[in-house]
Each structure stands twice: as structure tokens, then as C-alpha cells.
């Protein structure tokens, strides 16, 4: 759709951010570099505590970097925040921001005024955005009367009210019902495709990244481990993952570390059925055979096993050796 080379809209070089808490120094971002272009939906995917929110707060001028450079539309976020603010907007799933006793329409009008929009322009935008987000029938309800899902639709509409070049979204669909999450995702795809908007999405929802992002950076402990299209990342793994259910509890999976070709694994325990489900990212079919032979040899019973199409979760497991949930426990989030 674009007839020219898409322009670079976000450029981050060697970004670092530290927090000094009482007991310890936390390095939330540890040398992050990336580049995002016009019309892209760029996902930053990682477990809780990986540094996603910190990155978004720096890019949207709410937080200063400790070192490194971040540019948005060519403007330095640290030294030219006003110029950045004029061309961006942001929203977070944790916020349900609005004035309770004002209608959805009134709230959107208020937010448009923070960008100095003339009234007719503001009205036209509110109308167009609410049509796209299915808000028409709810515009005249007071904000506090809206359900969580509709409030989040208002929040998303707000994030596009100033016709921004770049929208930063931090877990925008967290805690939402499936229908709302779906219509928000459809809206985002449309905005990127038809209006060339850049959408910078931080999330720990792998399915979300898989369905809407053109490109994804996988982040862990403040570092970007890899960055590519979701398809390429999944393809890079080679063989589909192996899933096995083993018993009895507690299981001892130490032998997996010694099997050649195991890139990592993640475990979840099903107490009710008295077994553990182990998902192993493998390099080859040969490796699968060795694992299945290793289970009885380690004194466990193999209840069932099957192969599973690769998702981004396995990509993360192959890079870190652990799944999201286990990683969150290790990091203490």
C-alpha cells in the first residue's frame, strides 16, 4: 500500500534504565536497541518484570532513561519531550481513565482538547472512532456506567483521538472478554494498514502477538533476545514441540538437561489428575526418541504424549530454557 520506503518512527539505541530500590539496584532495561517503522504493529513480548512497561514509559516521555538514546519521529525523548508528545499517544490496560460523571463522549472531547483540536474536528473523530470500536450506542452513557470492556474501548478511542503517528499500548487487552479483545485487535490492524499508523504494543499475551504483530521483539530481564516476524521465529525452531504427561508427582526432570537437542522445557502440574505436563522444545526427531526413552529410565510413567505446533511460547522457551510463568517466579515478579 505504501509507495515509498516506510519511514523509521521509533529508534532506540543501547537504552538502559536502572531503579534504586531500598535493598537492591534493579536494571529494568539493559542495553535495548530497536527500530520500528511506519505502518508496523510492533510487539514487545516478555514475561512480567521483563521491562516492557519501563520501555513504553520512556518512549512516551513519562520516564527518563539512565543512558542510551531513544528517538520518536526523530525527536529525542529526553531533550525534546514536547515535540514527541505532539505526535504520539498512549494507553495502558491497567488504566481505566476517565471522569466518572461525564459521558463517554464528553470524556473523549476533553481528551481531544489536550491536543488543542478544533471542535468540529474533534466531533468528527469521536464519531469515526466510536463507529470503528462499536461505541456508537454508548457515547452518551456516563463513564462509570460503562462495563470494563466498553471503558477500554473508550480508552483505545482516546489513544487515537489526536491522529497520532505512533500509539504506545501497554497490555491493552489485559483482563478483557474475548469479544472486546478481538474487536480492539481488529481495530489496531485496520489503523496500521489503512492509516500507516505505527503501533507499539507491549504484552505478555503470545497469541495476541501472533495474530496482530508484523514484528516482535522478545524481551527478558531488560534485554532483547531476538526480533523478527512471528512466522520466522516459529520456523527457526525446526521440529514441533513435544508435550508429555508424566506421573507420579513430584516429577524429577533433571535428565532432560542432559539430553542432546533439548532447547528448553516448561512444566505445569495438574494436581487433580496427579501428573505433570511437560512441554519440551526440541531440535530434531532423534531428540524426541531419546526423551521418551529417558522417562521410564528416570522412574516415571509416561501417561500420554503428542506433538504440538510451535507457538511463540516455545520460541521463548528455546531462548531462555524456561517458560513465562517459571521465569516470573525466578525473577520474583
Amino acid at each position: 500500500m505504501l509507495s515509498h520506503e516506510p519511514e523509521v518512527r521509533v529508534e532506540v539505541q543501547n537504552l538502559r534504565r536502572e531503579f534504586d530500590s531500598k535493598e537492591r539496584k534493579v536494571v529494568a532495561l539493559n542495553g535495548v536497541s530497536l527500530k520500528v517503522r511506519e505502518g508496523e504493529i510492533f510487539g514487545v513480548l516478555g514475561p512480567n518484570g521483563a521491562g516492557k512497561t519501563t520501555l513504553i514509559r520512556i518512549l512516551s516521555t513519562l520516564l527518563l532513561p539512565t543512558s542510551g538514546v531513544a528517538r520518536v519521529m526523530g525527536f529525542d525523548v529526553a531533550s525534546e519531550p514536547e515535540k514527541v508528545r505532539a505526535v504520539i499517544n498512549m494507553a495502558s490496560g491497567a488504566e481505566r481513565a476517565g471522569y466518572d460523571y461525564i459521558s463517554a463522549r464528553g470524556n473523549l472531547w476533553f481528551f481531544s482538547q489536550l491536543y488543542g483540536l478544533p471542535s468540529e474536528v474533534a466531533k468528527a473523530r469521536i464519531k469515526a472512532l466510536s463507529q470503528l470500536l462499536g461505541l456508537d450506542d454508548y457515547l452518551d452513557r456516563k463513564f462509570y456506567m460503562l462495563s470494563t470492556g466498553y471503558r477500554q474501548r473508550v480508552t483505545i478511542a482516546r489513544a487515537f483521538i489526536n491522529d497520532p503517528k505512533i500509539v504506545f499500548l501497554d497490555e491493552p487487552t489485559i483482563g478483557l472478554d474475548v469479544m472486546t479483545a478481538m474487536s480492539i485487535r481488529e481495530f489496531l490492524i485496520k489503523e496500521a494498514r489503512e492509516n500507516g499508523r505505527t503501533i507499539f504494543l507491549a504484552t505478555h499475551n503470545m497469541a495476541e502477538v501472533d495474530t496482530i504483530c508484523n514484528r516482535v521483539a522478545i524481551i527478558d530481564r531488560g534485554r532483547i533476545l531476538t526480533s523478527d516476524t512471528p512466522t520466522n521465529l516459529k520456523r527457526s525452531l525446526g521440529a514441533p514441540a513435544l508435550v508429555m504427561e508424566v506421573s507420579p508427582l513430584p516429577v524429577n526432570l533433571a535428565f532432560l538437561g542432559a539430553v542432546e537437542g533439548v532447547k528448553g522445557f516448561t512444566t505445569s502440574v495438574d494436581e487433580e489428575r496427579g501428573l505433570a505436563r511437560v512441554q519440551v522444545v526440541v531440535e530434531s526427531e532423534e531428540c524426541v526418541r531419546r526423551i521418551l526413552a529417558g522417562v521410564p529410565a528416570s522412574g516415571m510413567r509416561l501417561v500420554s504424549s503428542w506433538r504440538q505446533q510451535t507457538t511463540l511460547e516455545e520460541v521463548f522457551v528455546s531462548l531462555v530454557g524456561r517458560g513465562f510463568v517459571e521465569r516470573e517466579h525466578e525473577v520474583g515478579e
Binding site: G98, L114, G116
Partner: protein
């Protein structure tokens, strides 16, 4: 361009403040009720004890206490609540200047409080017909400056709230009664008629509300013009 953004942001913040209250009839009732009944009560007390000239003070006090309450209870904590729900970050990431938002918030507060102030003034006038001897120019100017310094204090308090969060609510509790008392909302707390010792009077003069109340009483009841209260006005405009 810049000044247009400034004005739009200011107007919009004022608008949401005003509409939030006017959409909620109960709040209006509370807003109007409290200052109304306390000044009518005091007015009755003063007039039954024969303190005719003090009746006017009670009514003026009722008017001013409405604004003071508005500054303390809704201006100061507003930013804190804005922050809780995520609005504050929206202000910060937008190009709108924070001064426009603060002033809009203040003007909204003034508009919200105006009905109760007007009601107290009209009712006070009808019930008690206090002896007035106003110098209107001085009254207007003093009133405007007193409000400005009150709301400037509100803006300061709202920054305190941001820094200390909910604990700051106890600052309000601590401020409300003593300030209402020593700043002499209902009676003269500085000068010849003051019941307080000199040291308390010096302290009271540090509060802009004290200076404003004193100047307002002089202008409204003792026909003192700009020439005699100019010192008050200078002090007020320095805040």
C-alpha cells in the same frame, strides 16, 4: 497555536470539573448546604446577642468558607485521584501545559462553589440585612485576589498530594479547623477587634485567607477604599 492549545486545555478541564458536579445533584446539595446553614446559624447567634455589625461578618464568612472548603476538599486531592485512575499520565504525555490544567481545575472549582456563595449572600441579605458600607472597587479586587491566592494554595496542596498520596489527607484534616479559626473567617482575627494575642495574629497574617478576609471586611463594611487596603492587596498578590 500555543495559546490556543493553552486555552482549550484550560476550558476543557474547567468544563469536566463543572459538569461532574452538575451531573450529580447530591453533591450540589452538600456543597450548598454546609456553608449555608453554618453562616445562617452564626448570623442568628450574632443578631440575638446584639452584635449587629458582626452579622455581616458571618455572612461574608459563609461565602469565603465555601471556597476554602472547595480548595481543601476537592482541589487539593484532585490530582491524587487523577493519578490513581491514570488521568495524570494522560495530562503528562499530552502537549497540554500543566498550568492550563491547574488553572482550569481552579476555575471549575470557583464556578462550582459560586452557587452556594451566591445563595449565602442573597439569603444573608434578605434575613439579616446587615449594615453595609461598601467600597465596591476595593471589594471586587480583594475578592478576586483572595480567591486567586486560595486557589494558588490549592495548586500547591495538590502537588503535595501527588508526592505524599493519601497521607496528605491528614494535612487537610489538620488545616481545616485551625485555619478557619485563626484566619478569622467569621470574625476579625487581626487588628483591634481580634481576640488573639499578638503572636497568634502575626502567625495568622501569614495565611493569605486572613489578609483577604480582613481586607474584605474593611472594604465591605467600613467603606475603606483602595488607598487604605493597598497593603493587603500587595501582600495577597505576592502569594
Amino acid at each position: 497555536m500555543e495559546s490556543r492549545l493553552w486555552l482549550r486545555a484550560l476550558y476543557a478541564r474547567m468544563w469536566v470539573r463543572v459538569m461532574s458536579v452538575f451531573n450529580e445533584p447530591l453533591w450540589i446539595a452538600v456543597n450548598i448546604g454546609f456553608p449555608f446553614f453554618s453562616s445562617v446559624g452564626l448570623g442568628l447567634l450574632y443578631s440575638s446577642t446584639g452584635l449587629r455589625s458582626f452579622v455581616g461578618f458571618a455572612i461574608l464568612g459563609g461565602i469565603m468558607i465555601s471556597f476554602w472548603g472547595n480548595v481543601l476538599w476537592s482541589m487539593a486531592s484532585q490530582f491524587y485521584w487523577d493519578k490513581q485512575v491514570g488521568l495524570f499520565e494522560i495530562y503528562l504525555t499530552s502537549p497540554a501545559p500543566m498550568t492550563a490544567i491547574l488553572i482550569g481545575m481552579s476555575l471549575g472549582g470557583v464556578v462550582n462553589t459560586a452557587p452556594s456563595a451566591v445563595l449565602v449572600a442573597v439569603a444573608g441579605w434578605l434575613f439579616f440585612a446587615p449594615p453595609l458600607s461598601p467600597s465596591w472597587l476595593a471589594v471586587g479586587l480583594t475578592f478576586a485576589l483572595t480567591l486567586a491566592s486560595l486557589y494558588a494554595m490549592g495548586m500547591m496542596l495538590s502537588s503535595l498530594y501527588l508526592a505524599y498520596g493519601r497521607e496528605a489527607e491528614s494535612i487537610n484534616e489538620a488545616l481545616h479547623e485551625p485555619v478557619s479559626l485563626i484566619s478569622g473567617v467569621y470574625f476579625p482575627s487581626i487588628g483591634n477587634f481580634s481576640p488573639f494575642p499578638f503572636s497568634v495574629q502575626v502567625f495568622a497574617s501569614l495565611i493569605p485567607l486572613t489578609i483577604g478576609m480582613d481586607a474584605l471586611r474593611r472594604a465591605l463594611f467600613f467603606s475603606q477604599g483602595l488607598s487604605s487596603i493597598y497593603l493587603h492587596l500587595i501582600v495577597l498578590s505576592m502569594r
